[in-house]
C-alpha cells in the first residue's frame, strides 16, 4: 500500500494497463508532453513514448472519432476530454456513433474504449467548466458510466474500464484530484457494477457518487454523533451497470432512502434510483424517498454561490435529520 493522490492513481492505472497490453493507446489535448492540465497523466509520455501517448489539437470530435476508429480496428484507446462540459461539442460521436455502433450493426462493430473526463464543480471555474454530466451519459443506451470517489477506486475502476469490452465514460471529479488515500500496490482491478458500502448502518440508506461520497460519509459521522442516527452510505461507483441489488438490500434493512447527487435536479441519476425504489421497495419504505441535488440551475463561479448549490455536508445532515 502506498498513499497516492486521485490524480496519481489515474496515471498509475493507465501505466498498469499499458504495460500489460500494447493495444492500449492514449490521446487528448495536452495529455502527453504536458502530462494533462490536471497533471493526471504525468510520466506516461516518458514511459510509453509518442506513438502510444499523443497530444492532439483542440478537436474533440476528432479525438473521439479517432478513438472509435482505433477501437473498432483492434486497439483499446483511452481518450481524454479535458472538461466534461466539452462533451457538448462531441456528443454526436459519443451518442450516435460509439454507443450505437454495436447494436445497429447487429453486433459486428466493437468499441472497447474509455473516455476520461474531468467532471463536476468545486473548482470555481464557472458554468462552462464545472458541470456534473454523469446523468447525460446514464441516459444513453450503450454507454457504461463510472465515477470514482477516491484514489484507490480510481486505480481499480479505471483498470477495469480499460479492460472492458464496452465503451466507458470515466468521470474524474476535478475537485478531488489532490485527495489522497491508501492505494493497493501491484495489479489492482475493481469490477464494474459493484457498489461499495462505505459505511454500514441500520436507519437510513444514503446513496452517493464521486465527490458526494466523502460528504455523505462525513454527514453520517455527524448524524451518528449528534442525532444518534445510523446511516449506511453506499458509494455507487458506476451508474451503468447499476448495482441495484446493493441498494435494495440496504433499503430493506433501513427503510429509508436518500440520494446525494451533484448533477442538476431534473432527471438526475437519483431520479432513476428513486423510481426503482418506488416500484420495487414501496412496502419496505418507512419514509418518502428524498433526493439531495444541485438545484436545476447553471453553477455560479464565486465560491459562496457555488457552495450554496452543490450538496454540502450540512445539507445532508439537515435533510436526513429531519426525515420522518
Amino acid at each position: 500500500m502506498a498513499k497516492l493522490s486521485y490524480r496519481e492513481a489515474v496515471a498509475a492505472a493507465m501505466a498498469q494497463e499499458m504495460r500489460r497490453d500494447d493495444r492500449v493507446i492514449f490521446l487528448g489535448e495536452d495529455v502527453a508532453k504536458a502530462g494533462g492540465v490536471f497533471k493526471a497523466t504525468v510520466g506516461l509520455y516518458d514511459e510509453f513514448g509518442p506513438l502510444r501517448v499523443r497530444d492532439t489539437p483542440i478537436s474533440e470530435q476528432a479525438i473521439l472519432g479517432a478513438a472509435m476508429g482505433a477501437a473498432m480496428t483492434g486497439l483499446r484507446p483511452i481518450a481524454e476530454i479535458m472538461f466534461s462540459d466539452f462533451f457538448a461539442v462531441c456528443w454526436d460521436t459519443v451518442v450516435n456513433e460509439i454507443a450505437k455502433a454495436r447494436y445497429m450493426t447487429n453486433g459486428q462493430v466493437e468499441t472497447p474504449l474509455v473516455i476520461r473526463s474531468g467532471n463536476g464543480g468545486g473548482a470555481r471555474f464557472g458554468a462552462q467548466h464545472s458541470q456534473s454530466i454523469e446523468n447525460w451519459a446514464m441516459a444513453v443506451p450503450g454507454l457504461k458510466v463510472v465515477a470514482p470517489s477516491n484514489a484507490a477506486d480510481v486505480k481499480g475502476l479505471l483498470a477495469a474500464s480499460i479492460r472492458d469490452p464496452d465503451p466507458v465514460l470515466f468521470f474524474e471529479q476535478k475537485s478531488m484530484y489532490g485527495t489522497k488515500c491508501e492505494v493497493p500496490d501491484g495489479e489492482y482491478v475493481i469490477p464494474l457494477g459493484v457498489a461499495n458500502v462505505a459505511v454500514e448502518g441500520t436507519d437510513v440508506t444514503i446513496v452517493a457518487l464521486a465527490a458526494m461520497v466523502p460528504k455523505a460519509i462525513k454527514a453520517a459521522e455527524i448524524l451518528k454523533a449528534e442525532h444518534g442516527l445510523s446511516c449506511e452510505v453506499i458509494d455507487l461507483r458506476c451508474l451503468v451497470p447499476l448495482d441495484t441489488q446493493s441498494i435494495i438490500k440496504s433499503v430493506i434493512k433501513t427503510g429509508r432512502l436518500v440520494t446525494v447527487e451533484e448533477n442538476p435536479r431534473l432527471c438526475g441519476w437519483g431520479a432513476e434510483i428513486a423510481s426503482i425504489a418506488a416500484e420495487e421497495l414501496f412496502w419496505n419504505l418507512d419514509a418518502p424517498i428524498t433526493r439531495i441535488t444541485t438545484p436545476h440551475i447553471p453553477l455560479a463561479s464565486v465560491d459562496v454561490l457555488e457552495d450554496l448549490m452543490i450538496p454540502s455536508v450540512d445539507r445532508i445532515v439537515k435533510t436526513v435529520s429531519e426525515m420522518d
Partner: protein
C-alpha cells in the same frame, strides 16, 4: 479555382480488369435501380438514399482497394458496401427489413456494415465518419499493417466541423487515409454553391490542410481508378492522406421523399449524357478485344444476380422479436442493472 484534371495512366488496366470494372458499375446500377423499384412497390421500409449516377467512384475504389483495407461511407452507401463484398441479397434484405438482411433489420438502409469485409460502416450523421476513418488509419499505422482507410462523403459534408478536424488530424499524424468527396452538386435539396464560400467545396480547401487540391471527373471510371490507385498507394507507402473531389451527379433526389424538382431541366439533361455506366460501356466497345457479347454477358449476369437477390429477400421473414434485445453490450445482451 481548381479545374478537373486527368491523372496520368500510371496503373494501366488490361481488358479483363476493364470488364471487371464495368461489371462492378453495372452491379451498382441494377442494385440501386432495384432498390428504387422495390420502394415504389412499397416493399422498402423507412427511407433510402440512392447512388445512381455515382457508381464510377465506388466501383473504381472497390477495384483499387485491397481486401483488408477499410471503407467508411455515408447513408448513400449501398454502392460502396456492395463493392466491398456485401451481397445484393444482404442489401435488399436490409432495405426490406427482412431477417436475411445484412443487419437483420437493426440498422436499415443508412447503416450497412460488414466488418469482416472491411466495410466499416455507413454513417448517417453528416461528417461523423471522417474522424473515425482517421482513427482506423491511425490504428493501421500503429499496428504496422499497411492497411489504408478510404472515406467517402458528399459535398455538403465539407461545411461541417468534422471535415476540418479530420483533415487536420490526418495531416499532422500523416495517416494512411483517403478522403473522397463525391460532389454531386446538391447538399440535399440546395445547390452546394449557394451555401459554400468556395467554388470547389473540397479541392479549394485542401491547401488549408497542406494537401494537394485534386479535382477529377467522378463519372469517368478510368480516371477514378487512376486517382484511387495513386492515393491508396501513397497512403500505403507512408505518404499520408489525400483529399479527392470527384465531380458527379445524383440521378435521383436526395432520398425517397425527394422528386428533385429543384434541378434545372437542362442541367439534368447535360449530366444524363455523362452517365458513368453507359459511357464506360460505350468506351469499352472502342477497345480492341472487347466485344458487345462480352458486355451483354455481364449485363445478363448482373440482371440475374439482382433478380435472385430480390427473390431471396422477398422470401425471407422479418427478424424474430428477440433480436430487439441483443447486442447493446459486448456480452450480447441489453442489461444495465442487476
Amino acid at each position: 479555382m481548381a479545374t478537373a484534371k486527368k491523372p496520368p495512366e500510371k496503373y494501366p488496366l488490361d481488358n479483363s480488369e476493364r470488364l471487371d470494372l464495368y461489371r462492378k458499375m453495372a452491379q451498382c446500377r441494377v442494385l440501386q435501380q432495384r432498390a428504387y423499384d422495390l420502394f415504389m412497390q412499397n416493399l422498402v421500409k423507412g427511407t433510402t438514399h440512392l447512388g445512381q449516377g455515382q457508381e464510377a467512384i465506388a466501383a473504381a475504389f472497390g477495384q483499387a482497394m485491397k481486401e483488408d483495407d477499410y471503407t467508411f461511407c455515408t447513408y448513400r452507401g449501398h454502392n460502396h458496401n456492395h463493392m466491398r463484398g456485401v451481397t445484393m441479397t444482404e442489401v435488399l434484405g436490409e432495405l426490406m427489413g427482412r431477417d436475411i438482411g445484412l443487419l437483420r433489420g437493426k440498422g436499415g438502409s443508412m447503416h450497412l456494415t460488414k466488418v469482416e469485409n472491411g466495410a466499416m460502416g455507413s454513417y448517417a450523421i453528416i461528417g461523423a465518419h471522417l474522424p473515425i476513418a482517421a482513427g482506423a488509419a491511425w490504428s493501421a499505422q500503429y499496428r504496422g499493417t499497411e492497411q489504408v482507410a478510404v472515406c467517402f462523403f458528399g459535398d455538403g459534408t465539407t461545411n461541417i466541423g468534422t471535415f476540418h478536424e479530420a483533415l487536420n488530424f490526418a495531416k499532422i499524424w500523416n495517416l494512411p487515409v483517403v478522403y473522397v468527396c463525391e460532389n454531386n452538386a446538391y447538399m440535399e435539396y440546395t445547390p452546394i454553391g449557394d451555401v459554400t464560400a468556395v467554388p470547389n467545396p473540397a479541392a479549394d480547401r485542401a491547401s488549408a490542410y497542406g494537401l494537394e487540391p485534386i479535382l477529377v471527373d467522378g463519372n469517368d471510371a478510368d480516371v477514378m481508378y487512376q486517382t484511387a490507385m495513386t492515393a491508396i498507394e501513397k497512403a500505403r507507402n507512408g505518404g499520408g492522406p489525400t483529399l479527392i473531389e470527384a465531380l458527379t451527379y445524383r440521378h435521383h433526389g436526395h432520398s425517397r421523399a425527394d422528386p428533385a424538382k429543384y434541378r434545372p431541366e437542362e442541367e439534368v439533361k447535360e449530366w444524363m449524357k455523362r452517365d458513368p455506366v453507359v459511357n464506360y460501356r460505350a468506351k469499352l466497345l472502342t477497345i480492341a478485344g472487347i466485344k458487345e457479347a462480352d458486355l451483354k454477358s455481364i449485363d445478363d449476369d448482373v440482371e440475374a444476380m439482382v433478380n435472385e437477390a430480390t427473390e431471396a429477400a422477398k422470401n425471407s421473414p422479418p427478424p424474430p422479436d428477440e433480436i430487439a434485445f441483443t447486442d447493446v453490450w459486448a456480452d450480447g445482451g441489453a442489461q444495465w442493472r442487476n
